[in-house]
């Protein structure tokens, strides 16, 4: 099969993830967009692993590592979001502006 097909899928998922990351306000939706971007990268890793027919299976092993790290990231991210929600009663990220410098 063509190598460009999985790579185009990878690029599309990454671009859609970038759009969601930039346009969404709700922090949970932003986490979902990050997941989409990670999936895009995973598709290209698997595609190149199959393309090179790698004996060590470096690409697929790295995909498994990425999936694991994404799970850890979601767990910690949601814990932080719950703390934010407990303090603010909202998880809209553009309302969390305490670290912002005062406009002069």
């Amino acid at each position: 099969m063509h190598l460009s097909l999985p790579l185009l899928l990878s690029v599309s998922l990454f671009g859609i993830g970038v759009y969601g990351l930039l346009v969404r306000r709700n922090a949970i939706l932003i986490l979902m967009s990050v997941e989409l971007m990670l999936n895009g990268v995973n598709v290209s890793l698997v595609a190149f692993d199959v393309y090179w027919a790698d004996v060590l299976h470096a690409g697929q092993s790295m995909v498994i590592f990425v999936i694991t790290i994404a799970a850890a990231e979601i767990g910690l991210g949601l814990a932080i979001l719950l703390l934010l929600f407990r303090a603010r009663r909202t998880i809209a990220i553009d309302e969390a502006t305490e670290l912002h410098e005062e406009a002069s």
Binding site: V11, L56, Q60, A71, L82, F85, A92
Partner: protein, 175 residues
Amino acid sequence: MSERSLLSPTGVDIAFTLLGLVAVAAALMVVTTKQIVHAALWLVVSLGAVAGCYLVLTAEFVAWMQVLIYLGAVVVLLLFGMMLTRAPIGPSEELTGANRVVSLFAALAITAVLGVLIVDAFATTMIDIDGQKSTASVMGASLFRYWVLPFEALSVLLLSALVGAIALSQSDEEA
């Protein structure tokens, strides 16, 4: 094999294209829908279609890991997060910020640059999908023979993430 033209798709090509289209369409719904719970469910469709793509690419172990961890655990965690943060049920305009045009421009620019690069570099490259051996046993041997040190480091990382999440979610009175 490598001399076949770009416009003669095989069955594998067609299956992958259909699954990829499902994945991309569902991903678009994830980033555009106005209902937050629907976004999570479209994420399930998208990640499931990507798992199907892994199966077509003969990466069966990765595909089942994707189903177990992403579809099983991550989406459920996200739904729990929505419930705990009182996410709005029903359509809501609050989910999307005001900088839609800039975001669209940035995303389209990134997609266009990467897409042109990839089509330019790999337009005629073919994957030999038939001679592949990456079953679960092959992947397991590879993981525990060559990648065992990163694997163990990851288990420590998962443990620390677990402890960190518990520490973060303890309320102040108990701490």
